[in-house]
Amino acid sequence: MTFPYRGLLLSSLLAATLAAQGQRGGPPRPAPRPLPDGPGKEIVQRVCGATCHGVEIVTGKGYSRDNWSNVVNGMVARGAKASSSEFGEIVEYLGKNLPPRSGTAGAGGSGFIGAGPDDAHIVDPEAAERGKSIYNAECLSCHGAAARGGKQEGTDIVRSLVVLKDRYGATIGNFLKLKKHPTTTGRPSASIEGSQVMELSHFLHLKVTDTLRSGPYSQPINVLTGDAKAGQEFFNGAGGCAKCHSVTGDLAGIGRKYEPVMIQQKFLFPKTFGFGRGARNVAPPKPVTLAVTPANGKTVSGVLVHLDDFNVSLRDAAGEYQTWTRSASLKVVKNDPYQGHIELLNKYTDKNMHDIVAYLESIK
């Protein structure tokens, strides 16, 4: 060790816990949870559980439908492969079958992609609420409302090994008993015991959970900061948006239809699946089309099914599937209806982006 890490200098009561943890054994890992039964399960298994990560990374989470749509859109951007309707089914399935959990797990269980040990403290929200009263009465004045350290000398409890090593008050109880820790009211810390220690423990683990990506800080706060008038100018002028769109035509009522964050995501990344304000309908993106001209000069057009360096296939207007081997004599022209949006990514300033959100939000 080139540098003794002071934060890890442990009191004797923690050292015992650490030593025990170095031992192997204990209960074997429970089998990873399978996907719940329901429409869309097979698609989720195939798209989300067989290529980049296993399905336990999905079943280890619980989100609202909106948050699942964000997760799925993020995966689309990273190359997840499925059709538009399948992605819609995936979001429906996840929102219905893997909702936010009522009993939020502690430092481990609900962490992003299953962070933490299997035997992590599971928070009981009602007990945590009772623990909050004890915390507010005896601890808050030094350690702050978020338990991340206060204006007084109180340390950051969320980062404390006494809490991270704790399970259901065992370590926290020992600490309060042995340490003669100061309290707000002057009450001896050792007198916080039994069910009170358990409740305080639930509250402190809840505060740890609050710092995780699955915690309460997982939503944009406010994206409506732009200038609607400047947005209108950009829309009709430099942005070139009015060449394809009209706020009295295809975008009529757009501000009623989507939340501001979804408006922002939709015009930046139109292949984002749009979920309407309180509505469940999925707005699927428009498909990419192809025009393929073989050596005979007869062009075939249709919706792109597959295109790589070696092969190309499409579905034509009659619904027929057509496929070719690519060669120098086979002309392939791709038409992405969102090409203009892609090119704009290199042009927008962040001010343009915020102004457009404000403008489109105003179209009620």
Binding site: Q21, T51, C52, A77, R78, G144, R148, L161, I221
Partner: protein, 525 residues
């Protein structure tokens, strides 16, 4: 250490024992470490497969993993680079190691670690010392197995799951050291890398990725507390220069990851390329790829060692295609910058400082109302290993032009953990061939289809580059021109970096898709 090497040489005639000299030689009949040799080039000197005959490459075997002993579902895709010693291949997924016959794909043994938790997102593979294997587990253990039968010899805890650390890296053997990195950025904990005795497993040293309080570098943090909880994990692949006796590795993102107001400053030694003495764990130099990172752009991409020529002079160089979109070439003796360029779209820096490091643009920090930033969180490149060919002088990396919007979610006084994230995005993929002397793109092959590539690159003396597109094609390209020459559509995304070796005159190329390994072969004419 000398004694150990002599003993190893004495037993080298027996099956499945690695001669340590192999670790620093270009790989031929072995692929003895994650990158094939210490340089991190992933360059095969073999020529039986070459640009004029690769169209005849054929499928020799398929190995699909099964988990009869646990009965559990698919545990995660094969991201490991297999290691090949004496005709036997060793590869991993989190908690599992397999030995299979490198000629046939037939399973010899399977080891399952009884896990106690941790993030199971990936495992990069095993290291070999003599007749012993080493690998890391999501629940923070370094485990040593007997190569012969997969029986456990010992395990040592290398990190603490209660602090949401986990372990995923492939260890590296250097002399009598097992170098092991750690992972985890959910809570604000410090990163480190450490070394273990390959025989006993005892820890030899640990190097924290933050400066010592009171040193000039500590001033890149607002407080000792912020520094001590500042992240900087060590989950990438490590390379080694035996002449200089230095190991090279990258460090990950600072903490809190996105909501950064409590850690103003450059945040050393997060987001750095680090040179360390493997015997003492003392740092020789550092270079920061992303000063004050706010976008989770871990600088853990392979530091590839290039023995090159700059301005007519032979130079010991190191190159990294970093997740933040920048390509760096450094003098690996001193850490001084030689070249900085971009290899993919990057809109987040105002320019370069005197050291050749990008200067972050505060307007592109995550914002409450969002900042449109390129690259996205997945990055212009990521863990999939790049390759450098001394035959073409080109550095090959599967790259992405990508955008997403970065938000601050936690605007309270003291955000912790992440406190923000990115959303949505656009991404297009391409294979970039970079001239290391200038940082200029010599050729770029754009891949059709959405999304970034999640697979590595292999270059060979046969003037071939093996890579993969985002559409499940395993592709061979002409290394000089970038022209696609051959492909096999494997039906699922390619999930690791390819490797190559030759046994009995047959040259093999191995690649994985999720739960399946494919062995392609070129038989002698």
């Amino acid at each position: 250490m000398k004694t150990a090497i002599l003993l190893l040489l004495a037993t080298a005639a027996f099956a499945q024992t690695l001669d340590p000299a192999k670790l620093s030689q270009p790989p031929t009949d072995t692929w003895p470490s994650f990158n094939g040799d210490y340089s991190g080039r992933r360059f095969s000197p073999l020529t039986n497969i070459n640009a004029s005959n690769v169209q005849s490459l054929s499928l020799a075997w398929v190995h699909r993993i099964s988990l009869p002993s646990t009965g559990g579902p698919f545990p995660g895709s094969i991201k490991s680079s297999p290691v090949v010693v004496d005709g036997v291949m060793f590869f991993t997924v989190p908690d599992h190691v397999w030995a299979i016959d490198a000629r046939t794909g037939r399973e010899l043994w399977h080891f399952a670690w009884p896990s106690r938790g941790g993030i199971h997102i990936g495992n990069r593979g095993v290291a070999v010392y003599g007749k012993w294997l080493y690998f890391e587990t999501p629940d923070c253990n370094l485990v040593s197995l007997n190569m012969k039968d997969g029986k456990e010899r010992w395990h040592k805890q290398i990190c603490d799951p209660d602090q949401l650390y986990y372990a995923s890296a492939a260890p590296l053997i250097v002399g009598n050291h097992v170098i092991a990195g750690v992972s985890g950025d959910d809570l604000d904990v410090p990163g480190y890398i450490q070394s273990h005795d390959p025989e006993t497993g005892e820890r030899q040293w640990r190097w924290y990725t933050h400066p010592e309080p009171g040193t000039p570098e500590a001033k890149t943090w607002p407080s000792v507390e912020a520094m001590m909880h500042g992240g900087g994990m060590t989950w990438g692949s490590t390379t080694y220069d035996p002449e200089l006796n230095l190991i090279y590795f990258g460090t990950g993102n600072p903490q809190p990851v996105v909501a950064h107001k409590g850690r103003l400053g450059d945040n050393l030694f997060t987001e750095c390329i680090i040179a360390l003495n493997p015997d003492t764990g003392k740092m020789k130099w550092y270079f920061q790829s992303s000063p004050h990172d706010t976008h989770d752009w871990d600088a853990n991409q392979t530091p590839v060692l290039i023995d090159g020529v700059i301005d007519g002079k032979p130079r010991k160089l190191l190159a990294q295609a970093s997740r933040n979109g920048y390509f760096f070439v450094l003098d690996r003796v001193t850490g001084k910058n030689v070249v900085t360029s971009t290899f993919a779209r990057a809109n987040w820096a105002k320019g370069l400082d005197a050291k050749g490091q990008p200067i972050p643009d505060p307007l592109k920090y995550p914002q409450i109302d969002g900042a449109l930033v390129s690259p996205n969180q997945a990055g212009a490149a990521n863990w999939p290993p790049p390759s450098y060919s001394p035959a073409t002088g080109l550095f090959y990396v599967n790259a992405s032009n990508a955008y997403s919007v970065w938000y601050i979610y936690d605007d309270t006084d003291k955000p912790e953990g992440w406190g923000g994230n990115d959303r949505g995005g656009y991404s297009e993929a391409m294979l970039q061939a970079i001239d290391y002397k200038t940082g200029k793109i010599k050729w770029s092959h754009k891949w059709e289809g959405p999304g970034g590539p999640r697979n590595g690159v292999l270059s060979t003396a046969g003037n071939v580059v093996f890579a993969a597109d985002p559409q499940s094609n395993f592709v061979a390209l002409n290394a000089t021109t970038g022209q696609p020459l051959w492909r096999a559509n494997l039906g699922a995304a390619i999930s690791n970096g390819p490797i190559s070796y030759q046994l009995d005159g047959v040259q093999y190329v191995i690649v994985a898709t999720g739960d399946t390994l494919y062995g392609f072969a070129m038989h002698p004419r």
